[in-house]
Symmetry: C2
Subunit: 334 residues, 2 copies
């Protein structure tokens, strides 16, 4: 029997269409082939001149910027949506509000190896990536003109990746995006209504008790397919320690997150036919206001179905794979 | 120079990436071929037994239900996301809110002709479709268990259409979707703040004065590409007469909407290479509460780009085609 479910955090309702519960082999989306021609890849070693000059890199001692010898390399996006050479001045003219396209748009080239996605990397390599994520977010957040820093990873062209070499992206903005505002509003209300409880802590507690949507757990993180998952095999990675800012992640949590990312992305790859996905890091805004009620986390949305008209237009999704089934499949039990 | 812009209605910000302004020929998305085998099409005349029994039809006198002779035919979705044979009882258990999958999910087969999309139809044929939209929405809204009726049309497989025969869909829900709630909240605040003005009326007035984003206008409707368009060539069809409910559309407005739909969809087809699109009708909820501040309208989102990770995760879109350019192209001036 199908069921309407409300998201824990916001007022988003979705339908779990259980009568046509779909398993990984039921999804037949055409897939684009992935380029294996590394000679033309701007993210491969030796092609450093094909990108704008690097702004940050982890590289062997003695090697020059924009030459080989790096392990992780961060460059401005060649076609940035936003630029940092202007001031974010808000203009309001009747009902028209705008800000010049101020911001940062960076690409994190995660590895020199064109073919080495997160599941194939060592825990040390993934921990290094997490540290670079943290450092770049902290750096961009320190610009007082920036209100929110968005880290995301698009995997495969169907999820928006225009290059196949493993990379993630950061966009730093002078405004706070709508969906983050919603999460802030609802978690703030819950915090005040309950005299200081965190809505995300409550999700972790309730889901751990029920177990059925838990995908994985280690010392510091819980991975679950959320109760009102929008898409098949949607998963969230939640830190157990209440903390609004990803940038405040501790050394032992970095090791733990590396393990969590490897296990989760390996499960998605091997159990769900290596699907396209989008990974998004949600962290508190950097505008200096207090966000003690917020809880940073990662959301991963595999792209197995097409998004239809009313989903676009209404935020109301139909998900043919119940998250309980998704969790069992990702745990390897079905 | 790129620019951040806020939607007139909600708090959604988008980026207009003007430095790589894209025209229709710049979008190269792979397209699936469309089935031309009408013998296996469940929506073609003669194949009526391939669908569930019709719930409504406009047909020649003397013809039997579920046989040929119809002009427009409405059937339940064969794989409904929701069913009307249960009661919408809300369950709240800690942080888990659910409702049994109650609702209606219907398909409106717009024409017997497998190949006759809206731009190829006569104004009379399109007006007949608009009347069927109105009648079905009114009928489903009259069920007191229904709070919101959603009408949408997915065109081409990339926009979620699983069958190529021209059709639209209706989903009637026991809850109000998030995006509609947001529009209601913001238009209500504006109404109260201004002593009774409509935010959508204001958009029409301001945009008509500026002209640059107007795509088309007739006696009763204005078509524009919105100031903070999420995607290239997004257009909204706004009725000039303030009215919360689409179901209250008047006879002369139906004729006018037929003309508006034909002109708009023909412009999208001929100027933007016949792209996939999603069309959504936004009307006031049918839960009996007052919505005098709301203004029904239609949103059309062509699908020329892929939706990337942060757009999914944040509601923050990057649109490479300024709506002013989109409007000029759709008006045939570029």
């Amino acid at each position: 029997m199908s069921e309407l479910r409300k998201d824990y955090i916001t007022n988003r309702w979705i339908v779990i269409a259980t009568e046509r519960a779909k398993r990984p082999h039921d999804f037949k989306m055409p897939r684009e082939s992935i380029s294996t021609d590394t000679s033309q890849c701007p993210f491969c070693p030796g092609n450093e001149k094909m990108t704008p000059p690097e702004v940050y890199a982890i590289r062997e001692k003695g090697t020059e910027p924009d030459t080989p010898g790096w392990t992780i390399r961060v460059v401005p996006n060649k076609f940035p949506a936003l630029k940092s050479d202007k001031e974010p001045i808000m203009r309001a003219n009747h009902i028209f509000y705008s800000v010049d396209g101020f911001g940062y748009h960076e690409v994190i080239i995660e590895t020199p190896d064109h073919f080495k996605e997160i599941p194939e990397r060592s825990l040390d390599e993934i921990a290094m990536l997490v540290r670079v994520w943290r450092d770049r977010i902290a750096e961009l957040s320190s610009d007082p003109r920036i209100k929110f820093v968005m880290l995301f990873k698009n995997y495969r062209p169907e999820a928006g990746a225009s290059l196949s070499h493993p990379h993630s992206q950061i966009i730093a903005l002078p405004i706070i995006p709508k969906r983050i505002l919603e999460e802030l509003e609802f978690s703030k209300n819950f915090y005040w209504d309950t005299g200081g409880l965190c809505l995300f802590d409550m999700v972790i507690e309730e889901e751990k008790e029920r177990k059925e949507r838990i995908v994985y757990e280690n010392d510091n993180f819980v991975v679950l397919s959320p109760y009102a998952a929008r898409v098949p095999f949607e998963v969230w990675i939640l830190p157990k320690r209440h903390e609004p800012y990803f940038e405040n992640i501790r050394a032992n949590e970095i090791e733990s997150l590396a393990d969590t990312l490897k296990v989760t992305l390996e499960a998605i790859r091997s159990k769900v036919n290596d699907p396209p996905y989008n990974l998004m890091l949600h962290t508190a805004p950097s505008d200096g206001k207090p966000y003690e009620y917020y809880h940073w986390h990662i959301e991963i949305m595999p792209k197995l179905t097409r998004i239809a008209g009313f989903e676009w237009g209404t935020g109301f999704y139909i998900n043919p794979t119940p998250p309980e089934l998704a969790a069992r499949i990702l745990r390897g039990e079905e």
